[in-house]
């Protein structure tokens, strides 16, 4: 897909990582944009572990090693082609995530702000519905509430990017 319509300029860097460790948002922005003067806009999305009613002990994030990285890379490359991004980064954690902690980071860089916003939003919408990750909730009373259900709203969000 990407190869047919790739821009003529130098390839835009794509960084994808799936890891248990936390990440450093500022370092990732810096790594994408340092030493470049052709980037006018950088949009980042950080997804955090939300704790709604004081009962959640932690999230457990399971993933499909190999396919998770491959799917996220495919999503980022599609965003680069589609929105003419100058770079994209996506980092997704797995394992135990405490309330308030970071889960996912997406960065899109472009010459123009709308492309950067659209690129980051597109990557997130596809990542939520196509990247093989599953969340399980563990409660403070020691029980597991169980697996988080997929949201219809996420499918709807993804569908708005569909092209006829």
């Amino acid at each position: 897909m990407a190869s047919d319509s790739a821009p003529l300029s130098a390839p835009a860097p794509v960084t994808v990582r799936v890891q248990a460790e936390d990440f450093d948002t500022a370092a990732e922005i810096e790594s994408l944009s340092a030493g470049r003067t052709d980037i006018g806009a950088v949009v980042t999305f950080s997804g955090l572990c939300r704790e709604e009613k004081g009962v959640l002990s932690a999230l457990e994030l399971e993933h499909y090693p190999g396919m998770a990285e491959a799917e996220i890379r495919r999503i980022c490359e599609e965003a680069i082609t589609r929105f003419d991004l100058q770079g994209a980064t996506a980092i997704h954690r797995f394992g135990r995530i405490d309330p308030g902690a970071r889960i996912v980071l997406v960065i899109a860089a472009s010459t123009h702000r709308q492309a950067a916003f659209d690129g980051a939003s597109f990557i997130m919408d596809y990542l939520k519905t196509a990247a093989p990750f599953w969340k399980k909730e563990h409660l403070k009373d020691g029980t597991a509430r169980g697996w988080v259900s997929a949201q219809d709203a996420d499918d709807t969000a993804r569908e708005r990017w569909a092209r006829g």
Binding site: G47, L127, T129, P132, W134, W147, V148, S149, A150
Partner: protein
């Protein structure tokens, strides 16, 4: 008969009771949907895990496919619930 590696995730994995296994498939199993129907005959755990066939997602060699996709020369087939990352 041919052997493929099956991998399971999230509640599909929990209900079946294993994360991965090598399974011999009869020649009548052609598509991803055929595979799900075949697995449901392997016992109560499989039947429970795959009860609602329409929500089960399938990946062949780490690429998403529809249930009517032929398995072809698949080496690794994954079955899992709708994804909830991000």
């Amino acid at each position: 008969m041919r052997e493929v590696r099956l991998v399971y995730f999230a509640w599909v994995r929990e209900r079946i009771g294993v994360g991965d296994e090598i399974v011999s498939l009869p020649d009548t199993v052609v598509t991803a949907g055929d595979l799900i129907a075949f697995l449901k005959t392997r016992g109560e755990d499989y039947a429970a895990a795959l009860e609602h066939e329409n929500v089960i997602r399938v990946a062949i060699d780490q690429e998403h496919v529809e249930h009517d996709e032929p398995l072809g020369a698949a080496r690794e087939i994954a079955l899992f619930p709708p994804m909830t990352g991000g």
